[in-house]
């Protein structure tokens, strides 16, 4: 519940902080509506569309309505997939508006004690500290390896949780051991002639739960001719914070990362998670009002590139034979990779270059899968509706492999496959893992 006083505070901050020009830039043509998953899944409710949300933000800033529970609800229900941005002829930066609005609401709202405690633990206590991330994932590994997982699944303990959470627990990847997570390289040589020097952004979750994918990514870069710097001082990108109204913590993470990467002499900073990449590439906006950091942020963001882009740029798919055993593959876009980093053709081109893999484009591959960070946990009803539609399109491709380019999407697609009972004939993989497999396979 927001109190009247909190609402007044929120309203004042909307007036002060929301970018009026950006709000006015939306001329309400409605061209964004068909691209919005929540608009479609809510049964075409304008309040759950980008145009509606911007109109609500503007109405709060203009003092026409109060930022009540309903307004907050429509903003909460936004996936933040930003599919509305590339289709907006006026070029409204919806993502920036949403982030600002969420930050204002969150900073002025007194959460209930348990929520506060949880937010503090997750946003401040866990994600910013890579050693604690390792511990957490290490615990997961302990749980999986000791038979505790088998026991909970057998006893039906997970049935106490909502169905999708129980399924999600099942699809979590096998966690690496604490030792594997701790002994990470900081510098790697190319395995062929050196063509570029790049830095690798490891990511908090990617370097723990998805360690194998990070290893595959590094190997691909080495094979392409990259020497790689992996600075130890780097931290979580801050996306989770930025999207959840914890902008200050996000800024702290940004500064730490800029510092960690700036003196490495790298041509590019490579990411393999669309969600992280999109947040990193936006650091210049995040720090736009900070005189000391603005220019440093700009230099940092200019170097951000997804692994698929650099592989294509370096002709990896031409130089390295890629092959697989006759299989149909399809690709689900990572929203942030596509809509913010503007990377959509590189992953497709790479997949189409694999001999033996039949690439089948999925209908509406450019539409969100409903993962959206932690959205699938906190907004599970909408998330599952979106996932159900996504799975229909996935099934129509007859693909045995669904390729993704972001950990959240990967888990969500795994969840969809499990939910639909398709795990015997379909799997979801990260593109780096698939490419590494195709590059090292002995089939010719």
């Amino acid at each position: 519940m927001t109190t009247v006083k909190e609402q007044q505070e929120i309203q004042n901050h909307f007036k002060e902080r929301m970018n009026e020009d950006e709000l006015l830039n939306c001329m309400r043509c409605g061209f964004c509506l068909p691209s919005c998953p929540t608009y479609i899944e809510s049964g075409y409710k304008e309040s759950h569309s980008p145009r509606g949300r911007i109109a609500l933000m503007k109405a709060v800033a203009d003092g026409i309505i109060e930022p009540d529970e309903d307004v907050e609800r429509t903003l909460d229900l936004c996936l933040g997939c930003r599919a509305c941005e590339p289709v907006c002829p006026s070029g409204v930066n919806y993502g920036h508006l949403l982030e600002e609005a969420r930050d204002i609401i969150n900073q002025n709202k007194r959460h209930s004690l348990p929520v506060r405690a949880l937010r503090k633990t997750v946003f401040e206590g866990l994600f910013p500290h890579q050693n604690r991330m390792r511990m957490a994932v290490g615990l997961l590994g302990f749980y999986q390896r000791t038979g505790l997982q088998a026991l909970t699944q057998k006893t039906g303990l997970m049935n106490l949780f909502p169905a999708h959470l129980a399924t999600m627990e099942k699809v979590l990847p096998k966690a690496p051991s604490l030792k594997e997570m701790k002994s990470r390289p900081t510098e790697l040589k190319a395995t062929t002639e050196v063509k570029k020097r790049v830095a690798f952004f490891s990511g908090c979750l990617m370097d723990t739960m998805f360690l194998d994918t990070n290893n595959a990514t590094l190997k691909l870069l080495q094979m392409a001719g990259c020497e790689i710097a992996i600075p130890e001082e780097q931290a979580c990108c801050g996306a989770l914070h930025g999207h959840s109204g914890e902008k200050d913590t996000a800024k702290k993470m940004a500064k730490r990362n800029i510092e960690a990467f700036e003196d490495l002499g790298a041509d590019y900073i490579i990411t393999n998670a669309g969600g992280c990449g999109a947040f990193l590439i936006d650091y210049d906006h995040l720090l736009k009002d900070d005189d000391q950091w603005r220019e440093r942020a700009r230099q940092f963001t200019a170097k951000i590139k997804d692994v698929t882009e650099i592989l294509v740029e370096m002709d990896f798919h031409v130089q390295i034979p890629l092959s697989m055993q006759n299989v149909t593959v399809t690709y689900q876009d990572s929203c942030h990779l596509r809509n913010v980093m503007k990377t959509s053709s590189a992953p497709r081109l790479l997949l189409q270059s694999i001999t033996g893999a039949h690439y089948q484009e999925m209908q509406k591959a450019d539409s969100c899968c409903g993962s959206a960070g932690i959205y699938n946990i906190i907004e599970s009803e909408m998330s599952m509706k979106i996932l159900d539609s996504k799975m229909e399109h996935t099934k129509n491709t007859n693909a045995a492999i669904v390729v993704t380019a972001n950990p959240g999407c990967l888990l969500q697609m795994k969840l969809g496959i499990e939910k639909e009972g398709l795990s015997d004939r379909m799997k979801a993989v990260h593109i780096a893992d698939l490419l590494y497999e195709a590059a090292t396979s002995q089939i010719s």
């Binding site: 939306c26 043509c29 409605g30 309903d70 002829p89």
Partner: protein, 470 residues
Amino acid sequence: MIQPEVKQRLIQIVGSENFEDSKTERLVYSYDATPNFQAMPDAVVKPRNTGEVSEIMKICSEYAIPIVPRGSGTNLCAGTCPKEGGLVLLFTHMREILEIDEDNLTMTVQPGVITQDLIQKAEEKGFFYPPDPSSMKISTIGGNINENSGGLRGLKYGVTRDYVLGLEAVLANGDIIRTGGKLAKDVAGYDLTRLLVGSEGTLAIITEATLKLIPMPETKKTILALYHDMEAAARSVSKIISAKIIPATLEFLDRPTLKVVEDFAQIGLPTDVEAVLLIEQDGPKEVVERDILNIAKICEEEMAISVQVAQTEAEAEALRTARRAALSALARLSPTTILEDATVPRSEIANMVKAINEIALKHNVTICTFGHAGDGNLHPTCTTDARNKDEMERVEKAFEDIFIKAIELGGTITGEHGVGIMKAPYLELKLKSEGIAAMQAIKSGLDPNNILNPGKMFAKDNRKRVVVAK
């Protein structure tokens, strides 16, 4: 405010899940795509069928509650802005294509069907539904019918009006009427179908429509002609028509519009020329080839710098999509974009383009022009800032001059966007007081309590204002 008993009765009809009156839900239906107009409705209702619309209508009649039918809210005349409050009626539950009759070449649809979905469904069966308003990706057919929408293909194929054969509609008293039918000929009484098309929701609520389909043209070719001189482009348009060629599409974009469209679409449009014409011809292969050749010749004679033929359908579609984004793309230039659609006989297009440039200079405002040059329907668009009162006054004066000039050239104040609230003060310019009186007689006959989309079409006073109305 909706009285509690009225609310109860409405909920009884549509179910509580289809009645909304929270501030949030009202706010998001307080606007459409027209800048500077906003008014809150009292409630939002989503009927599931014609019977429910009729029941709602009866209640509105009984309590004299305004009712505003709304599709996707993409109109450009403030036609769905609930100026006098009341109910906004949504058709999100009535979005079925009921039938494609391949023997009679008709399609029967509910009002909530998205225009593009309908066009696609027709094309899947080898039929063609030509009206293609720029918002067709999201606009509804109900909205198109109420506004009598045009589009890029209007020149050769006409507008929505030319494709509506029959309607089902609910009158202000709740009566359900059916007009026309799957008929090529039908003179049984007044042509109520034509009357309701373009009536902007002021005469009845349209609940079903039977549309005419035509066979899909065999081939299509698209060209882009570039000019260093706007008026040369406009002259080409008149010459093409007077050479007895009617292209399927004949669109005009000036330099500033080209620039913003290219910023958005990034398809390699030229941004260093003063104007381009986007021209399409469809039909049998030989005819298309011959026409395109002749059109290219005319353009070259009129000093086109280059005339390029689109090599693939994808390239042609990219050009069309880019053109459709023109208005919204212009919003990149300034906080407020106000567009008009003054229309002149096609022979006067060069004169009108010239006049618009002079008027912009005279009032010191920026006007970008694009539009359906082939049918004389231009969209002079003013890039301005609603917060700048002084400039808004000048914009107002410029538009008044444009309207007067259009009428003087034998044209009209609006070609395809409708009157709504926005152009109501100027309607008399076109119709004279006698014309307005005749229309008002129809309105009061069908809607004696003035509950159907009140405040639209007829201005309360004749203070001429399109942009500084409030």
